[in-house]
């Protein structure tokens, strides 16, 4: 009822996060964990989840006293003009490369599994146009689109996973500790930036109706996504066993290629449109965040005019690596490795500075 202009409600916020993060279980994110943690990848995933709570808590704490600032403004406030800009620029660089690599992954999935005869650049261009259009419409409309499609996307995903589950063999999950606890922990520590998106959502923090909704929404989305991805990882292992899953790049798509429902023997094309819509919303959202960050750093108020340039840049960079199937995952893994410690430490650092600056002193008054 208290719909304020230009803001999004908790439903839209959660919907965006669920789609943006939930699609991770359908790309090569699970296979990054299988490489080292083998059949115990799901334990690593849970560990990552537990570890991720720390930076999220710190970040929320900092945001609780700076409710009208987005991530970039917060950086400027905490680190000063020069360092703040440098930190934001770093974030922009990471965010942009993540966007390029992720979108390259998705285009790779489409062109390798579904449209083998279509040149990848054509698919990339279509994706660029759709996501550019979405990003130009703004966060409210991305949120609304996410909310409208959310239930259909999650229901079909659940159906696919359920059918895969019935075809799976639970014995593949054992031995429970797989390669040993050390490996599991190591994997978790090096790949924890899977959830680094939670740092970037600080960019849209002031757009959410109220801080309370932001906080609640973040936790709802986080727990849902964590459970979702963990279950998916378990199901993939049950379906393929750990020896073969290590060599599978995109387990979700292998799974829907493998399963059949009733008289329909090949169901992957049924799931394809739903997955694609989730992907479109995800990249619209990422593109929007990158644009806001870019606009904030370089003081460009009407950043929607940057959309075409940014899209062209992304398509150009995304199609440039040859043998995308091998290069892109490698680059992604490197990126995650670098990002992991940063993602863990930066929010703690931000909190520390805020503490030293005495930002939390007024907190009690604000909450009342």
């Amino acid at each position: 009822m208290k719909q304020t202009e230009g803001k999004i409600g908790i439903r839209e916020y959660v919907a965006i996060l669920l789609l943006a993060l939930g699609t991770k279980l359908t790309d090569d994110t699970p296979s990054l964990l299988y490489g080292t943690a083998k059949n115990s990848a799901w334990i690593s995933m849970l560990l990552i989840g537990i570890l991720t709570v720390v930076p999220i808590l710190f970040l929320l704490k900092v945001f609780s006293v700076h409710r009208n600032k987005n991530l970039h403004e917060l950086n400027l406030h905490l680190f000063g003009k020069v360092f703040g800009n440098i930190v934001s620029l770093g974030m922009l660089a990471f965010g942009f490369s993540a966007l390029v690599l992720d979108s390259a992954t998705y285009v790779n999935i489409i062109s390798n599994i579904y449209f083998t005869k279509t040149p990848p650049i054509a698919i990339y261009i279509i994706m660029g146009i759709v996501c550019g259009y979405g990003a130009k419409r703004g966060i409210q409309h991305i949120g609304s689109a996410a909310w409208i499609t959310l239930s259909y996307l999650k229901v079909t995903l659940a159906l696919a996973l359920f059918v895969a589950f019935t075809k799976g063999n639970s014995k593949f999950l054992f031995p429970l500790w797989g390669p040993g606890t050390k490996e599991i922990v190591k994997t978790a520590a090096s790949k924890m930036s899977i959830f680094a998106d939670f740092y970037f959502i600080g960019i849209i923090a002031p757009v959410v109706n109220s801080f309370k909704e932001f906080k609640k929404g973040t936790f709802i989305a986080f727990s849902f996504v964590l459970v979702e991805i963990t279950i998916a990882i378990i199901i993939y292992v049950m379906l393929f066993d750990f020896t073969s899953i290590e060599v599978i790049s995109y387990p979700f798509h292998e799974a829907i290629l493998y399963i059949s429902i009733g008289f329909l023997k090949n169901v992957e094309s049924i799931f394809l449109p739903f997955w694609l819509i989730a992907a479109f919303i995800r990249f619209s959202f990422y593109l929007y965040m990158v644009l806001v960050l870019f606009g904030g750093i370089f003081k460009i108020k009407e950043y929607e005019y940057l959309v075409p340039v940014m899209v062209v840049l992304i398509v150009f960079l995304g199609t440039s690596p040859q043998f995308a199937t091998y290069t892109v995952p490698y680059l992604r893994e490197q990126l995650l490795m670098i990002l992991s410690p940063i993602f863990f430490l930066l929010p703690c650092f931000m909190w520390l500075i805020a503490k030293v600056r005495g930002d939390f002193k007024n907190e009690v008054k604000k909450d009342m």
Partner: protein, 514 residues
């Protein structure tokens, strides 16, 4: 591109030389009523070009008692001549009173005195009769308008099985009466606004004062008052003048011929526009759901109503997607069809020389031709078109190996399901969108369709009708009765839609369920 088009059309207009006859016309009327009756008579005769203008009537006579000269003017085609004779001319001639004023002698329901020629002309134009008297600076007008029109008939475009059968007519007074019959409340306001300068078309703006948001009412009123055109004949044209996005596929103003529908929207806090010459009402603001709904779903019981909604939702899906899906699946994703069916399709297409895309496009186009022809053809020939279209075209095309039988099924299904959408604007929107999906499926299969769908969703959620988001209350969320794809039990529909910001949110108190 549209901006460029606008610029071009704008530039072209500037080159045209204007000759403002309207201003000359209004200058002519800019006088006050003269004391000498002959001057007035000459003036009015000149304005109406009497006696060239055949239905403008003029009668001069003397009052019975005083012997004072009077003249009466009216347009016979839009007045009730009997009333003029019985309640004006007769009493005036037969009176024997010497001191009585003209106002007192007339036995009509109301008499107004006018002092400007402009007012006199307006009154004559709207069907009133005007009396001039010698030695008086005032003219007298009384109501005797009688415009010809249909009587109340059955609704023909929005047909219901259960519920009222009345439809709005071309006479705005009848329409008002039909709506007032349903809302017997003094706070139902019918304001009249003149929207055009030359034809002086009048729009009635209806709203319930202590329900509708004042800002919304003000906004709509402002938009109507700032129109600057010579003539707007009816609501279908007015709709295009006041809508926000002229190039949008999706309508933003609801157009209905049912008074019960208009009344129920009024009760929710919407604004309704009525106009002479329009057998319909414009309801604004409108959301996507209001185009998707029909009143019948609320007249039917809970499950039946929602069953109809389910049917309509799936029809909408089928009408947009089925042709596109057929193209995408057969040309890009043939592995998903069960082998037996695939063989059947391949067998039926064996002799067809065209690609599926072309085949579907051909048949869809044929269907649109039949539909348009069926609509325009004079009534007695109607059935012939149907027979020629369905039997000859379909059957013969299959036998001539131009079209495979499955395509006929697909296209017939997509055409048939499009008729479940009772709103004509949405119907057209879906028909055009279907072709876009066919094109995208032909180009990129399911990826193309999904891309177009995603763009469509982004577009749909960004639309607004008079400040109301198009998909509200689904997203963004508002307090409302939750009447979107499905409806709730009637007793639980407690709230007016929050996106209208109604002054009174609650439709029913909790006590209503006792």
């Amino acid at each position: 591109m549209f901006k460029l088009l606008k610029k071009l059309t704008g530039r072209k207009q500037k080159r045209i030389n204007f000759k403002d006859t309207l201003e000359k016309q209004s200058n002519q009327k800019d006088q006050s009523v003269s004391r000498q009756i002959d001057v007035n008579i000459e003036q009015i005769k000149k304005i109406y070009q009497f006696p060239d203008n055949k239905d403008v009537k003029f009668r001069e006579f003397r009052i019975g008692g005083t012997g004072k000269r009077v003249a009466i003017f009216f347009i016979s085609s839009i007045t009730d001549v009997r009333t003029i004779e019985d309640s004006a001319i007769k009493p005036l001639i037969q009176t024997t009173e010497i001191k009585a004023e003209i106002k007192e002698i007339l036995s009509t329901q109301n008499v107004t005195s006018l002092s400007e020629i402009k007012e006199v002309v307006t009154n004559i134009n709207t069907g009133n009769a005007v009396i001039f008297a010698d030695n008086a600076t005032k003219a007298y007008a009384f109501e005797c308008a009688n415009f010809q029109g249909r009587s109340v008939e059955r609704a023909e475009n929005e047909v219901l099985i259960k519920g009222s059968k009345e439809a709005l007519t071309e006479k705005v007074i009848v329409n008002l009466s039909l709506i007032r019959k349903r809302i017997k409340n003094e706070s139902l306001i019918a304001e009249s606004i003149t929207i055009s300068e030359r034809s002086q078309n009048e729009v009635f703006m209806l709203y319930i004062r202590n329900v509708a948001d004042d800002q919304l009412v003000g906004n709509i009123k402002n938009r109507l008052e700032t129109l600057n055109v010579d003539a707007i004949q009816n609501l279908s044209l007015l709709e295009q003048y006041i809508e926000e996005r002229s190039f949008s596929f999706f309508p933003s103003i609801l157009y209905s011929e049912r008074p019960d529908r208009a009344a129920s929207f009024l009760e929710d806090g919407h604004v309704v526009l009525l106009m002479d010459n329009s057998p319909d009402a414009l309801i604004l603001p409108a959301t996507f759901w209001s185009f998707f709904h029909t009143p019948e779903e609320h007249y039917l019981r809970f499950f039946f109503g929602n069953f109809v909604r389910l049917i309509r939702a799936s029809s909408m899906f089928i009408t947009i997607f089925i042709s596109a899906i057929y193209i995408a699946v057969t040309s890009y994703h043939s592995e998903m069809i069960p082998p037996d069916l695939l063989l059947a399709i391949a067998g039926s297409r064996e002799k067809v020389p065209f690609p599926v895309f072309f085949e579907i496009l051909l048949m869809e186009a044929a269907f649109e031709f039949i539909r348009e022809a069926g609509l325009r053809v004079p009534n007695p020939m109607g059935p012939t078109i149907g027979i020629v279209g369905a039997l000859i075209l379909g059957q013969a095309a299959v036998e001539a190996n131009i079209i495979s039988p499955i395509v006929i099924i697909v296209v017939a299904l997509s055409g048939l399901t499009s008729f479940t959408m009772s709103d004509i604007s949405l119907n057209y929107a879906l028909r055009i969108i279907r072709f876009l999906f066919i094109l995208s499926a032909g180009l990129f299969g399911i990826v193309g369709m999904t891309s177009l769908f995603a763009v469509g969703i982004f577009y749909l959620v960004s639309l607004k009708s008079f400040g109301v988001p198009y998909l509200a209350p689904m997203t963004p969320n508002f307090v409302s009765s939750g009447d979107t794809i499905f409806r709730r039990v009637l007793k639980n529909e407690k709230f007016r839609p929050g996106y209208l910001k109604p002054t009174d949110m609650k439709k029913k108190s909790n006590g209503a369920i006792k």
